[in-house]
């Protein structure tokens, strides 16, 4: 079965990103397909490569990135939500005249159409948030 996952909350603030991660990981282990993970609202903060938790804590960003690497996951950050919260890639940096980027290379920034497409192309859309 093909799943799409939506994450509406940032890391370390709410359990949503942890729940979404374990659901996604388990679905993949059971042989399901995950079409896309869409990070919306504060969820865009899951895509900042500058995140540096204490060494004895889970690294939520790296954990998503590693799962993405293993399964070639499409990890998409909402562009409008990202602009508001300062989550920036090369294109957004130039377009908005900023001096730095912080998006993790396993993530990409794109529009809300990607969420709609994921919902259409998948058998189930599972939403995690507050």
């Amino acid at each position: 079965m093909r799943f799409a996952i939506q994450v509406n909350e940032g890391p370390y603030q709410h359990q949503a990103s942890d729940s979404a991660y374990f659901f996604t990981k388990t679905a993949l282990e059971k042989g399901h397909e995950v079409f896309r993970v869409f990070f919306y609202h504060d969820g865009v903060n899951n895509g900042s490569r500058l995140t540096t938790p204490p060494q004895d804590d889970r690294n939520i960003v790296e954990r998503w990135a590693e799962l993405g690497e293993q399964h070639d996951l499409d990890l998409v950050v909402c562009v409008a939500a990202a602009q508001r919260r300062g989550v920036v890639d090369e294109g957004e940096m130039q377009r908005n005249g900023k001096d730095a980027t912080n998006i993790h290379p396993r993530f990409r920034i794109s529009g809300l159409g990607q969420l709609v497409e994921a919902a259409i192309q998948s058998d189930r859309l599972v939403v995690f948030g507050d």
Binding site: F3, A16, F23, T26, K30, D123, R124, L125, V126
Partner: protein, 102 residues
């Protein structure tokens, strides 16, 4: 058409469980996760409401989230099934859609 409803709020903090149980049809499946797991425990003020719901809907609770809150499975109301993440994925696949009561 069956739907898996997910409730992630404590019933002592938000009214989402009550809103969910009041609106879902008979035969619906409801999964309690995150702080929603508190609704699955015995001896609370919402226990009668949850037991009443069990007459018409199936209730599930996410085991890892019980454990994370120091709640053992023997505190779970009879009739509520404890599932792990694999069980959560199975529920999402078996039902036609998943509705989160955020």
């Amino acid at each position: 058409m069956s739907t898996l409803h997910t409730v992630n709020k404590s019933p002592f903090e938000k009214s989402s469980l009550d809103a969910c149980l009041s609106r879902v049809g008979a035969g619906a499946n409801v999964l309690l996760l995150e702080d929603g797991v508190y609704a699955a425990t015995k001896g609370t003020a919402v226990e009668p409401r949850v037991k009443q719901a069990l007459d018409s809907v199936k209730l599930f609770v996410l085991g890892p989230d019980l454990m994370a809150r120091g709640l053992s499975e023997d505190r779970v109301i009879d009739g509520i099934s404890v599932v792990d993440y694999a069980g959560f994925v199975d529920l999402a696949a078996e039902n036609d859609k998943v509705q989160a009561w955020l």
